[in-house]
Symmetry: C2
Subunit: 478 residues, 2 copies
């Protein structure tokens, strides 16, 4: 496996690699900046296989630093800037990071002997540094801590092979063209954002990078043919659709697809997107699978509503315990994109069993082999012996015209063990009794939430996923 940066600077030196804040850099330019920064990192004492933690916003500066670190072949620990200082401290301790580099706006959140601002690296001496022409496939390129599970976050290894396999499998599914340009407004410290960078290097693709998602800018880029792809979660797609509709815009003919992760999309989003010529592919992936495991082709978006599609070419999916289509069970994943394992506290825990990763998600395959993700296993509500999937109730609530967003979790109940409770963010006032009656029309009685609470916003993690376990905090005391 060649050093991606060297190879891109050699093969497509004059192709546009990155756009940020109105500026643009070719692969040659970005490589040369990264190489110079790598020589300064080298001057600071950073060596191959060191753990180097990075805390920054999605800026050009961050991209160049990540590429410089790749040149030095460190193990990158990508920190989430939304975390509290204690959470950051846990990840720095758990990963035993030798160095921490932080955006100056974030550096105060870090307590570490070897913390440097990004600016400080530029003041380090230029030393003689020659990047390795080849990378080892099994070398750990990145470590990302998983959010959303109970207990301690786990540091997930992602190897060169994992990232490469993910990029190649996506290319075989979505296609790849020399003029592709991916709008990246997802955080780079998450696999969704980082995988856009790996695609850029492996494909020779332009990344149109944003520090924050801005729906108006993104909509204009899509409508003007400036970008061909974008990664979104449901809430981002919703805002994009709002803007496109409000401005009377459509997706440009050059636009290829919006890749939508982080859970199923409401049907009405797909209908609105179709009216705007905006192709949407729903995808299923996680930190442990270096981005997409399965993706639904835009052509199947309505025929297979709610499905995450079929596995990408190198991957396999099976449902634990299922003997026939439509049987639910834990989704298990196999392929070259699956992590070899964890670090730190969980280093001894195997990531896979017989090559299969147990995802912690419940789902099923239909009779054509399309994957449907039902819910997080950890979020399953068991009420009077019945399995209740919060997502099913949330989907019903999303269908009510007064509801903007809904989140459901289980609460203890003396009679049933657990019962569902719902938190709703409203577009317009509505009596809770009306929501209850609406649910009763569409759901078995035991699935109808016993409690409804109106809140301002749903609690979300860094990946913009609703944290159902935090919903319980919105329940009035006593």
């Amino acid at each position: 496996m060649p050093n991606w940066l060297l190879q891109r600077a050699y093969l497509t030196p004059h192709r546009e690699a990155l756009r940020f804040e109105g500026q643009s850099w070719t692969f040659k330019e970005i490589h040369e900046e990264a190489l110079q920064l790598a020589s300064r990192l080298h001057g600071l004492g950073v060596k191959p296989y060191d753990r180097v933690a990075i805390l920054g916003y999605s800026t050009k500066e961050l991209v160049v630093l990540l590429y410089a670190c790749m040149h030095v072949q460190v193990e990158l620990v990508l920190l989430n800037h939304r975390l509290a200082p204690d959470e950051l401290a846990y990840q720095l301790t758990d990963s035993a990071a030798q160095f921490v580099f932080a955006d100056k706006r974030l550096v105060t959140a870090i307590a570490h002997e070897q913390v440097h601002t990004f600016d400080a690296i530029h003041e380090a001496p230029l030393t003689s540094f020659t990047p390795a022409p080849l990378w080892q496939k099994d070398a750990t390129m990145t470590i990302m801590y998983t959010s959303g599970t109970t207990g301690y976050p786990k540091g997930v290894r992602q190897t060169v092979r994992n990232h490469e396999a993910s990029a190649l499998a996506s290319a075989l599914n979505l296609g790849v063209r020399a003029d592709d340009c991916w709008l990246c407004a997802s955080p780079i410290f998450h696999i969704s954002g980082f995988s856009t960078l790996t695609k850029s290097l492996v494909y020779g693709m332009t990344v149109d990078l944003y520090e924050k998602f801005d729906a108006v800018t993104a909509a204009n880029q899509i409508a003007n043919g400036q970008v061909t792809h974008i990664s979104v979660v449901a809430v981002m797609l919703g805002r994009l659709l709002d803007v496109l509709e409000a401005q009377g815009q459509q997706a440009h003919a050059r636009f290829i697809v919006a890749l939508a992760g982080g859970g199923p999309l409401p049907e009405r989003y797909l209908q609105r997107a179709a009216r705007l010529q905006l192709a949407v592919s729903q995808t299923y992936g996680m930190t442990e699978t270096a981005s997409q495991t399965a993706t639904l082709g835009a052509e199947d978006a309505t025929r297979k509503l709610g499905s995450a599609g079929k596995p990408l070419f190198f991957n396999a999916i099976r449902i634990a315990g299922a003997t026939k289509p439509f049987e639910k069970g834990e989704i298990c994943i196999q392929g070259p994109h699956v992590t070899p394992g964890y670090i730190g506290r969980f280093a001894a825990r195997p990531a896979t069993e017989d090559g299969w990763l147990a995802s912690g998600d419940i789902g099923y395959l239909d009779d054509e082999g399309y994957l449907y993700v039902v819910d997080r296993r950890a979020d399953l509500i068991i009420s009077g012996g019945e399995n209740i999937y919060p997502a099913e109730i949330e989907n019903v609530l999303h269908g009510h015209p007064a509801v903007l967003e809904a989140g459901v979790c289980g609460v203890e109940d003396d009679v049933w063990g657990q019962v569902p409770m719902a938190c709703v963010v409203l577009k317009q006032a509505v009596p809770m009794e009306e929501l209850r009656a609406y649910c009763l029309q569409k759901l078995a009685k035991y699935k109808v939430p016993k409690y409804f609470y109106v809140i301002d916003t749903l609690p979300r993690n860094g990946a913009n996923k609703v944290m159902r376990r935090k919903l319980i905090d919105y329940r009035p005391q006593g």
Copy 2:
């Protein structure tokens, strides 16, 4: 690595896989036919890792048989139907093939205990057979005997990894789209044709297959937008251009590129192709590299005239002994597409040294890293201590309006050791003295052929490459 056939039948069952003689098959259909044939092969006693030799024309029947053999995971020995019985016998002995399957039109050329016609396989019993869901990357998928070298042909192993890496690297270079369709009129027993099948399975791409190259049909497919890609050698491209020009046709907007291998193209072909909107990419590859190693983008076709481009993404090229750009030496190749080695008589000969394959070709890299292939090292003429590359002289002769084709080789000479001699195929009569004078204008005197002979056709091997060593046979005796 998934079983490509199973995975394609699962992921894109209804996509068109193959067109042949006016019929068409989806991936599901072709997989089901292959699976049934695999169960019959199993009934004949064919087992995984058996060597199975195949002798056939490029037909749908051949494709299904090859896919059936892949399901059984045999080592396919792909025989060239242009070979003489003694040559075939050598390859069958050298490969120790347990089974030979031959087109009934070709079966008489084979002497082997276990030879069956393709038809006979269909009469074998259907047995219970379950294909393996995963393939081993290091398993040998195909064995092809190299032509064009002196002495005994060598059986080259091509593993699953080799073919996969080749297909993926080509996708990153040429792009890949769900509606790609590759016109294949190159023999499937050669890597050029076979690699079209591997692309079909890895990409989910349609192959438009022909038993023989027919310039009129190919031109129509290109002009009508029925195909997006074609593999050609110079002589095929020349005939294509003739037809397109004669019929007043152009390449359709849907057509992407003609991939031209087997040596550099004459400049006038590129100029004519450009006028017909026919993008042409020159490529350099060989049996040992499972097809392309380097490819010149169509956008560079005239700026880097005569170059084979840059390596594909996973690959590296270096010139043995060269310390700076433009220095000539043996082209050495590294990458996951490079054969692990040979079988039979040459099993003990390492294919690579420190991971580098010595190609046997002489070339150089220019100051931007573009590869120029100068000549076969074996064809080098050394005259009075000077290196003379036959291709250089041939290129000059190709520029003369009366010359259709030219081949140059060295002949023994008492004074100079060797001197060049030229064989020319003419479009119109021309005195040999005129050709000599033409060469004197354009070449150093020692490079001007001492002998000129007019012949009807140049001797070509199964890959349509001129066999310069056979030119000596055209020299009048005494």
